[in-house]
């Protein structure tokens, strides 16, 4: 594919890898924040290619993975309410709540439909005036603008049977929480690409100035990621800490002002929001402003808002912080697999555990064979 294959060239990758080998042999841990990056890293086998001294730590940037059990339960309870058509992105269907998933709720009779955009949910609302259509709004600043635009559209058209269950989250507060966490040992960050197309590169400056860590905003193709890793390592070697933008073909310094305005018009920060495995983080979630309260499913359905503790054996929290590797979790690959996920990291293809389970096991299997160990 034109404009894509260029970013998947094996030849260019080899050159970059050679430069990475030569620049330093110091052990370095670099976190890719975004789940999309995690997916690319596993899909293309990038960890096998990187020099041994560089370890990628898979961060909390998969919105499906960080949604807490309680919010999934709330979503299911809304979906099972009378006269409701519950609409959601496909990724969330299999996320386990404390008892069942949306997919299981659908099989037991709830009207749950997969959509590709909140505007599709609005279309369903217009077609079904006797039903209440709820959209399960999740995601970072990448998906928030489309939810905001949908709310503005619904308000403009005066649609009364549409609401959203808002679970939008923000990347900067979680990064700050991670940086403040005492057990975190990271040398630098690969910053999210899609989020940054919306918020720009400026909001990350505190990472460089206050925490003295380099961050490079990266694209999603394998060469983008390799180049970004190289840029982070180069800053570390040169004793620098700056925000750099590798994804210049898409990300601008000031972001997308129209998208930001739409978010600001419709949403405001919650005092705090719970993240799966990470606990409550101040000002990290978004809710609808009072002006748009009529579209707030939490008010329409009097959502219980219960907090549900994660499964005891689940170590999603440690994995999301990069403190533990997926295979170090006691239930990884045994009780917790993509078919029967316990933790959210195993659900979405962008989750570190699922990506590792699906794509990453090969080198370990081969390693065991080479060591003459049975598998």
């Amino acid at each position: 594919m034109k404009y894509i294959d260029e970013y998947r060239s094996e030849e260019l990758a080899k050159k970059l890898l050679q430069e990475l080998l030569e620049i330093t042999n110091k052990p370095l841990s670099i976190m890719e924040v975004c789940g999309g990056h995690t997916h690319t890293i596993f899909k293309y086998g990038i960890e096998d290619l990187l020099p041994e001294n560089i370890t990628m730590v898979h961060g909390p940037g998969c919105p499906v993975c960080v949604i807490p059990l309680g919010r999934v339960d709330d979503a299911i309870s809304i979906a099972c309410s009378p006269r409701v058509i519950f609409t959601t992105f496909g990724d969330t269907m299999r996320v386990p709540g404390s008892k069942i998933s949306l997919l299981q709720a659908k099989a037991s009779g709830a009207d749950i439909r997969m959509v590709y955009s909140p505007l599709d949910a609005l279309k369903i609302a217009k077609k079904n005036p006797d039903k209440e259509i709820v959209f399960f709004a999740i995601g970072f600043e990448t998906t928030t603008p489309s939810t905001a635009m949908t709310i503005l559209q619904a308000a403009k058209e005066g649609i009364k049977n549409f609401s959203i269950f808002a679970n939008h989250i923000m990347v900067v507060p979680v990064l700050k929480a991670l940086l403040d966490s005492p057990d975190l040992k990271l040398d630098g960050f690969i910053g999210p690409g899609h989020v940054s197309t919306v918020i720009g590169t400026k909001p990350y400056e505190f990472i460089a100035s206050d925490y003295k860590k380099p961050i490079v905003i990266s694209g999603f193709e394998p060469l983008d990621i390799l180049q970004s890793v190289y840029m982070v390592v180069k800053q570390i070697v040169n004793n620098e800490a700056r925000v750099e933008n590798q994804y210049k073909r898409v990300v601008e310094e000031n972001g997308n002002q129209r998208a930001l305005q739409a978010i600001l018009e419709v949403f405001e920060a919650r005092d705090s929001f719970e993240w799966r495995g990470l606990g409550s983080i101040a000002y990290s979630g978004m809710k609808l402003r009072q002006k748009y309260a009529e579209f707030d499913a939490e008010l329409k359905f009097r959502v219980a808002g219960l907090q549900v503790a994660d499964h005891k054996a689940c170590q999603c929290g440690e994995i999301l912080k990069g403190v533990k590797k997926p295979w170090e979790c006691k239930v990884f690959g045994t009780a917790c697999t993509p078919e029967t996920p316990i933790g959210a990291c195993m659900v979405s293809s962008e989750g570190a555990c699922a990506a590792y389970y699906n794509f990453g096991r090969l080198s370990k299997v081969v390693q065991r064979l080479n060591n003459n160990l049975s598998i």
Binding site: E10, K14, Y44, D48, R361
Partner: protein, 378 residues
């Protein structure tokens, strides 16, 4: 990451757990059970096979192969026992929409069953067709579909010899579902089975992958996306005959090991089934896998992996390396096999695993489909 990994007992547990006997724990049937991937396997092995087990069924091939012995009375000789090998299969079609670029539910119902028969090396002979129709369905549409079945049957040189019609209340089914069953005769001495892949074999795919599934996805019109692609729905019985003729003429009939048509779950699922059944490792090379530019682009936008997207007119052949080039050339001469390619090879270890060497030089496991990418694709 490689340096801090200690091959722990945990990892061994994960691998063991992946291979253990399946058990169906779900309370409800979900769409994932119909995806052709892992959940389907759990349902088939954990429930259907549990109650209906017999030596033919438990092979879980796409068709049952069995022999029927009969007395042959020959003049001037004693009675002699002769036996004929048959292939028998059934398939239901629930595709949505029922008309799509490159075909319709009727054409699909004929070719789908023919292809399942052909993958055993059988020459398809007779088909049955059963229709479950929703009240209110347009007779005009039904006529179009049956006409399309007539043309398909002629092309594939089979006959539909029995059938059934049921009409149900509005809402009990969506428009029209069709079931076809078929029987075919295995004339040659071929022994084809997904248990027969061996280390050293080559993996051939007969053309571009993902065309059918991507076409259906776009034809549903849920995504305002247009692409100039059509379903690859086609009968593969003559292509299979070409392959059998080729290995026969080389005197190496035994070099043809597996034939499968990668429908639901795509080539990833089919290759996993073969790797499991034959207890081998299959390695494929991303650069060798033929994919149409438009299909690749559409999958990129939809977030689908073409390896998991359904095909309805493609086959995977696993053959010994000594005949691989000749078989490939023969497939390419057939109009249905012009884009055929050797996409990988079979190795002995790590067994029951499929992996892909990516175009980027890394490698990754290609597991069976989990969940459902697209329901009602065929």
């Amino acid at each position: 990451m490689a340096q801090d990994f200690n091959p722990s007992s945990l990892f061994q547990m994960a691998e063991n757990s992946r291979r253990k006997k399946v058990d169906i724990k779900d309370k409800f049937i979900t769409l994932a059970h119909g995806s052709g991937g892992k959940a389907t396997h759990q349902l088939v092995e954990g429930l259907f096979l549990e109650y209906l087990r017999n030596p033919i069924l438990e092979k879980l091939e796409d068709q049952a192969v069995f022999s029927i012995s009969h007395q042959v009375n020959k003049t001037n000789s004693v009675n002699k026992l002769d036996s004929l090998r048959f292939a028998f299969t059934t398939d239901s079609f629930v595709v949505n929409p029922i008309f799509f670029p490159g075909g319709d539910i009727g054409k699909l119902a004929i070719y789908g069953t023919i292809n399942d028969l052909a993958m055993s090396g059988a020459k398809p002979l007779y088909l049955s067709a059963a229709f479950i129709i929703e009240e209110g369905f347009l007779v005009e549409d039904l006529k179009k579909i049956v006409q399309s079945m007539q043309i398909a049957a002629q092309k594939a040189q089979i006959q539909i010899v029995t059938g059934d019609t049921k009409v149900v209340e509005k809402g009990s089914v969506d428009k029209l579902f069709i079931n076809t069953s078929g029987i075919g005769l295995i004339e040659s001495n071929v022994q084809i089975s997904s248990t027969l892949a061996q280390a050293g074999d080559k993996v051939i795919v007969s053309g571009t992958i993902g065309d059918h599934g991507t076409t259906i996805m776009i034809a549903r019109g849920e995504l305002e996306l247009e692409a100039d692609i059509k379903s690859d729905t086609a009968p593969l019985n003559f292509l299979v005959q070409d392959i059998i003729n080729e290995v026969t003429s080389l005197g190496k009939l035994n070099s043809l090991h597996c034939l499968r048509d990668p429908t639901r779950g795509g080539i990833a699922t089919t290759l996993n089934e073969i790797a499991l059944s034959s207890n081998v490792y299959i390695e494929v090379y991303q650069n060798n896998i033929p994919i149409q530019e438009e299909v690749n682009g559409a999958c990129e936008i939809l977030g689908l992996d073409p390896l998991y997207v359904a095909n309805e007119g493609k086959l995977i052949a696993i053959v010994s390396s000594d005949v691989a080039e000749q078989v490939l050339e023969r497939i390419k001469k057939n109009p249905l096999g012009q884009n055929a390619s050797i996409i990988g090879e079979v190795k002995s270890t790590p067994s029951a695993i499929v992996a892909m060497v990516t175009s980027f030089g890394g490698s990754r496991i290609v597991d069976m489909l989990v969940g459902d990418q697209l329901p009602r694709i065929c």
